[in-house]
Symmetry: C2
Subunit: 191 residues, 2 copies
């Protein structure tokens, strides 16, 4: 049923080429510098290839993001505490925000571009849903009186590329994460 024929060798090669071309364009120019024409050209590949592989612009950026965050997702599900299961809720929340913040701070332009491309259906992105579910669970354990579903969305809304850039001075690369953690702590604190 879910049986998939293995990916052909050239297809795999091209997929990697496209991803790394997109990555390069992203770090060189701004997020809107990554047009699919350019990605295809830099990857030495036809435009159609990019689309067959990733569906559309949003899919491509989503794949990049997914690549960057797979490790964290595994650590949350099966890793040791405090990231993985077992630690008390507040510790686990702060550890999660620390890790997600690190990813976000290192990929602010990717985040902007992804947000821009996803536009409406950002909330169907499997990565997003995963973070949201995790946050929602933690908040609903710690603060059952709040609308945990909303709070999870709101906290994730702060992980916006432009905001991160705006909140990250060159001499303090982790200010964003600290502020997010501080806010989350305030949200956890009972009245």
């Amino acid at each position: 049923m879910t049986e998939q024929r293995a990916e052909r060798a050239d297809a795999a090669r091209n997929r990697r080429a496209v991803l790394s071309a997109a990555e390069q364009l992203l770090t060189e120019g701004g997020g809107d510098h990554v047009s699919l024409d350019r990605v295809a050209a830099l990857a030495g590949v036809g435009k159609g290839t990019v689309f067959r592989r990733f569906g559309n612009r949003a899919g491509l950026l989503q794949a990049l993001l997914e690549e960057r965050s797979r490790e964290l997702r595994d650590a949350i599900e099966n890793g040791p505490p405090p990231l993985g299961p077992g630690a008390p809720t507040p510790e686990r929340l702060l550890a999660f925000l620390d890790a997600l913040g690190a990813i976000a701070e290192g990929n602010a332009t990717l985040l902007s571009a992804h947000g821009q491309a996803c536009a409406e259906d950002k909330y169907r992105d499997p990565s997003y849903q995963h973070w949201h579910r995790h946050l929602g669970t933690l908040f609903s354990e710690a603060r059952p009186d709040l609308d945990a579903d909303f709070v999870a969305h709101a906290v994730l809304a702060a992980f916006d590329g432009a905001l991160i850039r705006h909140m990250t001075p060159p001499d303090d690369p982790r200010r964003f994460t600290r502020s997010v953690q501080q806010m989350a702590t305030a949200l956890l604190g009972r009245d």
Copy 2:
């Protein structure tokens, strides 16, 4: 110095026509249905006119948003409490979120379109800066231990068109605002 020659009559007429055309397209179709070609055509005006008046797509949407929120801005600066000055900080904060939430709930598609168009320099939008300053002041009064500047950005980040649509069931049009207020209250609460 800051002396401005009065706007010519045809210019004023066209400006209103363009704004109301944009408004109409926005409510009819989705946010990306509002192309500047279409706006110009519906307004019975040349494309150049739209651009001279509003600079670019972002400027047009900004102007619409500004129109929608001018009243609230006045009420905050000179109106009676709890919106205006004089009320205790928590009451003033909740009143502000109530009013801003109402505007946001009624203009979710405009908000999406504006966010999309502004992309990077959303934080230079005078409207945004105004709300941010207000929130920042309130939070820094109530919670000097937090990073009020960041918290203000984070709260405003929740006012995202797609999120609002996602959080607004047909039978409960104010759920978003309630949840925002609840979260803000949690943020105010001392440990």
